[in-house]
Every structure is written in C-alpha cells, then in structure tokens.
C-alpha cells in the first residue's frame, strides 16, 4: 500500500544521474568493442554517451511521468545539445588559432616584412602598418560622417529626407564587403587607370562598410539621452547646436565611443575589399596614396594561398597573422566594454 502512495511521479535527480552514468558506460563499451584500428576519442564517447542517455531517459520518463514531461525533457536535451554542438567548432577554432599561431608569434614576426624572404623567417610588420594606416583613414572618414548623420537623424530628422537616409543606411548595411571593394576599384580606376591599387582606395571601401555601423550604434545611443536634459538646456537659453555639442553628445559619449570601437573591430578583419583594391606586396609601404599595400587579413590569406618552397613556414605565418588579428579584434571589443562601463554613470547615474 505504501508503495502505491510513494510511487514516484517524477524522475528523481538520482535516477537521472544513474541513467547518465550508464549511458556513458554503454557508450564506452560499444566504442571499446567495435573499434577497429582507430583510437578512442573522448569527445566522441561523450557525444555517443549523450545519445544513449537520451535513449534511456526519454522512455523512462514517458513511462513514469507521462508523455508531456517526456517531451519537455526531450526538448530540454535538444536545446542544451544545440548549444553544446555549436560550441564545438567555435572552441576548436579559437584553440587551433592560439596553439598554431604561437609557433611564429615572436619578435621577428612583428619586427620585419616579407621582403626578400623565401621560406622561414620574415614577418608581418608591413601588413600591420598597412592595416593600421588603412583602418585609421577609414575611421577618419567614417566617424564624422556617421556621427553627424546620426545627429541629424535624432535631433533634426523629420519628414521624407530622414526616412530616405534611414532606408539608405539600411541598404548600406547589407552591401557585401566584396561589392564595396569593387565600388572603390571602379571609382579609383576612373581617375587612376585600370590597374589601380592603393591603400587609400582600400580605406574608402572600408568606409562604405563602416559608416552604416557607426550611424546605427550612434543613433541608438543618442536616442537614449533623456529629453529632459535637452529641454532643460534649451530652457536656459542655450542654442540647439550647443545643446547637442555640450549636453547630448557628452551624455552619450561612452556609448558613442563603444559603438565606434566595435565598428573598427568589424572592418579591421575585412579581407575581400582590400584584396581587390589594396592588393598585396611583400615589402613595406608607408604611403597609402601610391602602390600596393599589404594588410593583415590579406597577409593571412596570401600566406596560405601562395605557399613557397617551405610550405610549413608560410602556414605558420598565416596562423600567426590570424592570431594577431583575433587579438586585435578582442582587445578592441574588450576595450569597448570597458569604455561603456567607465562612462555609464554619465547617462543614468
């Protein structure tokens, strides 16, 4: 009689854990028996174990708890495994970039170009200089245009023209990066002849990609500034433009800087447009207005795609370049986070 009353209507945690352990055990035995000459991969066993665990726990739950809870458990399992499944390639990516990139992450890599280098040695200094110059120019073009446009949209924008601008920014957001590169090429080849390659054209291509990002994020930040601040300032007799410059923008400055840093992080890894208009070279070129200019993403691509006699040296340099790129992007993103945190009190206490 007591057994009827205390009959479990839900699976206890102990039961689930027991089923989990037996799932893993079954998976291990299956792998141990059926393996031919292959070795046992722990991750594979774990994945198979999860499947076996699912096959054990779902029927058990169905019998004990009923159909609805069994479905709930199934979906919970699927959601968790979707997350785990997606994590595997991303972890693998970061892991390989770090481990393989460290092989050539040394002083020579950051201290020399590829001029006259065949095989081992050499570095990416020319590419790093190129990336810094091109990205800086792109930022110098994009930040004023993007910031002013967002000021227009938030503070002045009424009527049809502002709708047009909003739509066009949306369209610009969707321009594929390679099309931006083609545009810069088409533009500059009209003035400089059909074989034009220069760093500045690359910066123009990057600006096309960067401006909409800056507009988007700044617009969002400016809209967050409370209207009371604007009204208070205007009521004190401060003209509108000074209100914008002295009240609105300083209030939103943290968010604006964060958005700009993230926009820079977005374009600094762009490869395709620079491959087209900035070209590639083995030598240092400080002048963005003439001749080909190497950049870090193109360096990675080029090291891989045209390997010389000592292929491993080229692949090692490609990975080191990839690691450098990821470090730069992460630093920019983390910096943006920190800026956002430091300036937060300015907005709402």
């Amino acid at each position: 009689m007591t057994t009827v009353l205390t009959r479990a209507t839900t699976l206890t945690r102990g039961t689930v854990i027991a089923l989990f352990i037996s799932g893993m055990a079954i998976s291990y035995f299956v792998a141990a028996i059926s393996r031919g000459d292959g070795e046992i991969v722990p991750l594979g066993i774990f994945a198979l174990g999860l499947v076996v665990f699912g096959m054990l726990v779902i029927p058990t739950s169905w019998v004990v708890e009923g159909r609805r809870k069994a479905i709930n458990r199934t979906m919970t399992g699927l959601v968790f495994s979707a997350f785990g499944f997606a994590l595997v390639p991303l972890v693998s990516l970061v892991w390989t970039v770090v481990t393989l990139g460290l092989a050539r992450f040394d002083g020579e890599f950051f201290g020399s170009s590829m001029r006259n280098v065949v095989g081992e040695g050499g570095g990416a200094l020319h590419a790093i200089i190129g990336t810094v110059e091109i990205t800086l120019i792109a930022a110098l073009i994009s930040i004023p245009i993007g910031l002013l446009t967002s000021v227009y949209l938030v503070e002045y924008g009424r009527g049809r023209f502002s709708k047009w601008v909003t739509t066009m920014v949306d369209v610009m957001t969707g321009i594929p990066s390679i099309v931006a590169g083609l545009f810069a090429f088409a533009l500059f080849s009209v003035f400089f002849g059909p074989g034009v390659r220069m760093g500045f054209a690359g910066a123009v291509a990057l600006s096309v990609l960067m401006i909409p990002v800056v507009v988007r994020s700044s617009e969002e930040m400016l809209r967050l500034v409370p209207n009371e601040l604007r009204e208070a300032s205007l009521a004190l007799g401060v003209p509108k433009w000074l209100t914008i410059l002295r009240v609105v923008i300083p209030t939103a400055i943290g968010g604006l800087v964060t958005g700009i840093m993230i926009a820079i992080a977005r374009v600094i890894g762009e490869t395709a447009p620079l491959l087209i208009v900035a070209g590639f070279t083995q030598s240092m070129n400080y002048n963005p207005f003439s001749e080909r200019m190497m950049t870090l993403p193109v360096f990675v691509y080029n090291s891989y795609s045209s390997q010389g006699t000592d292929a491993q040296a080229y692949i090692d340099r490609a990975w080191a370049g990839a690691l450098t790129l990821i470090v730069i992007v992460m630093v920019l993103n983390l910096g943006a986070r920190i800026v956002a945190r430091v300036f937060r009190p300015a907005g709402n206490h």
Partner: protein
C-alpha cells in the same frame, strides 16, 4: 535684457551652420550609395554587351554568372538549413534555459565570436575542418549513396560545397543566435507566466507563448543570416575547390562556385573585359542581397506595426 535681440540672433546662425553640416552628412550617405550603384553599373555595362569578347567567359555574361548565382544561393541555403535550428536552440538556451548569470556571459561570448574575421574562419575551415569531416563524407557516400545528393566520387580533400555550407553556418551562427535571443527575451512576461500557471511544462510554455511571438523576428534573423552568407567571400574562396558546375551533389570535388569567391579569386589576375565581367557579377550579388535584406526589413516593419496595434 536690452541686449536680448542680438543674443538670440547669433546662436541662430550657429544653429543653421550645424544643421547644415549634419544634413550634409546625410546627403553624403545618399550620394555614396548612388555612386556605388552608378560606378558599378558604369563599369559593368561593357561586359553585358553580347558581342564582347571576354576571355574567361566565351559564351557570354549570362553563361558565366548563371552557375555562380546558383552556387551562391545553394551554399547560402545549405548554411541556413544548418544554422536556423541551431541558432533557435542557442537563443532559447540563453534566454530561457541557462541560469541568468551564465546567460549574460554567454551572450557576451557570442557577441565576441561574431567579430572573428572571415579569413580566420577560412583558414580554420581548410586546415582543420575539411580534413576532419572528409571521413564522414566517405561514410555518408557508402551508406546513403543511393540519395542523389550523396552521389559521385567523394572529394579526397573534403573541400566540397557541403563543407562550405557548414563553415558558413558556423559564421552566421553568432549573429543569428544573438538576434534570436533578443526576440525571445521580448516575449511578454505575463504570457509566459500565464502558460506556466495553467500547468504547462517549460517546453509547452515556449510553444504557446514564446515561439508564436517570435516567429517574424526569427524569420528576419534568418533573412539577415542569409544575406551574410550570400555575401561571404573569403571563407568560401579558401575552402571550396570550385568547378563552376551546376549540381546538387554535396560530396564531390566538382562544386558550384559562388559570385563573391569567384571575384576574390579571379580579380587580382584579371585584366581588360574580365574585370568588367567580374564587376557585373558583383552587381548581381548586390541586387540579390538587397532583395533578401529588404525582405527582412519588411518583416520587421510589419511586426512593429502589428505590435503597435496590440
């Protein structure tokens, strides 16, 4: 107070100048877009002439771009097929399953992953993923070879359109999951609580309250992901071994190529009318992504109107 009139007049001039500058920035954006379209069309026109002698495309421009359009759509669709269920799962995990403290960290990690440059994905795809997945392709061919998509001789390098689809899916996963999470988080709390109060399990609550509310948001997230996948260049250029073929076979080394990767691979070597042909192909890509993106925007706008009415 006697000096009031001049005091109000001077700022007005400042206002006018500042207003003019910020409108000017908007004009710049409009003209940039017009310029992009104009220069691309201008440079593309010579290739569209049917009598033009294009070295790489002797059969005319349409015969050149047709297979590429197919490859672009095919690889992006593959990516979307893999990425959509996964991104919904990840979005749900972060918004409704993970403990709150972990959830915010995970959201941040996903944002970071969205920033990884595509050339790094390409390098990883060809060096790590393609060799890893190739035995799986052999297995698929041996056991499911009767399906048309798994027919043909399996590529020895793993650099197939299926690999490209998976790599593209991994690349658009962060942005799509971030959007999905955002949509899920906007579900009215009262709807969720009402479902739970009626005795629904967590999944039933998600089915009844979260998913119907998020449907259009998810659709637009998928469209934006599709737009990304269509325009993605470097990963495809590095991973795929292209053959400009039109085929649905996933595992062979005769793969349809994409517009963007063809431009990236051929442009540095191209000269003469070949350049114009590539630019014209870029224009086609621009048009395709614009259609996809405006579709996504239309969905968002409609949803906003609908929510305003409720």
């Amino acid at each position: 107070m006697t000096s009031a009139p001049p005091a109000t007049r001077r700022p007005r001039r400042g206002d006018r100048i500042f207003r003019g500058i910020s409108i000017g920035a908007g004009v710049v954006i409009l003209s940039v877009l017009v310029l992009v379209a104009a220069f691309l069309v201008f440079k593309a026109i010579p290739a569209l002439d049917p009598s033009a002698q294009i070295e790489s495309t002797p059969d005319g421009f349409l015969a050149f771009v047709g297979p590429l359009v197919f490859g672009t759509l095919f690889s992006a669709t593959l990516a979307l097929i893999f990425a959509t269920p996964l991104s919904i799962g990840i979005g749900l995990f972060i918004s409704h399953y993970a403990p709150r403290r972990i959830a915010s960290v995970l959201g941040y990690v996903i944002d970071l992953l969205a920033a990884i440059p595509s050339v790094v994905f390409g390098l990883w795809g060809i060096q790590v993923f393609a060799p890893f997945i190739q035995p799986v392709y052999l297995w698929l061919h041996d056991n499911l070879g009767f399906l048309p998509i798994f027919e043909g001789e399996v590529s020895g390098t793993g650099r197939t359109i299926l690999t490209v689809g998976v790599v593209l899916a991994i690349m658009i996963l962060p942005i799509m999951s971030a959007l999905a999470r955002e949509v899920f988080l906007q579900t009215p709390r009262l709807h969720e609580e009402a479902a739970l109060a009626l005795g629904a399990t967590r999944w039933e609550m998600i089915q009844m309250a979260v998913l119907p509310f998020a449907r259009s948001g998810l659709l637009s997230a998928a469209m934006l992901g599709l737009g990304r996948a269509l325009g993605e260049t470097m990963a495809v250029a590095m991973v795929l071994s292209p053959a400009a073929a039109v085929s649905f076979k996933l595992l062979t080394s005769e793969n349809p190529s994409t517009i963007a990767s063809t431009i990236a691979l051929d442009f540095p070597e191209a000269s003469g009318l070949d350049v114009n042909a590539l630019i014209a192909a870029g224009l086609v890509l621009f048009a395709i992504t614009m259609v996809v993106n405006s579709f996504a925007r239309a969905i968002v706008t409609r949803q906003r109107i609908k929510m305003g009415e409720n």
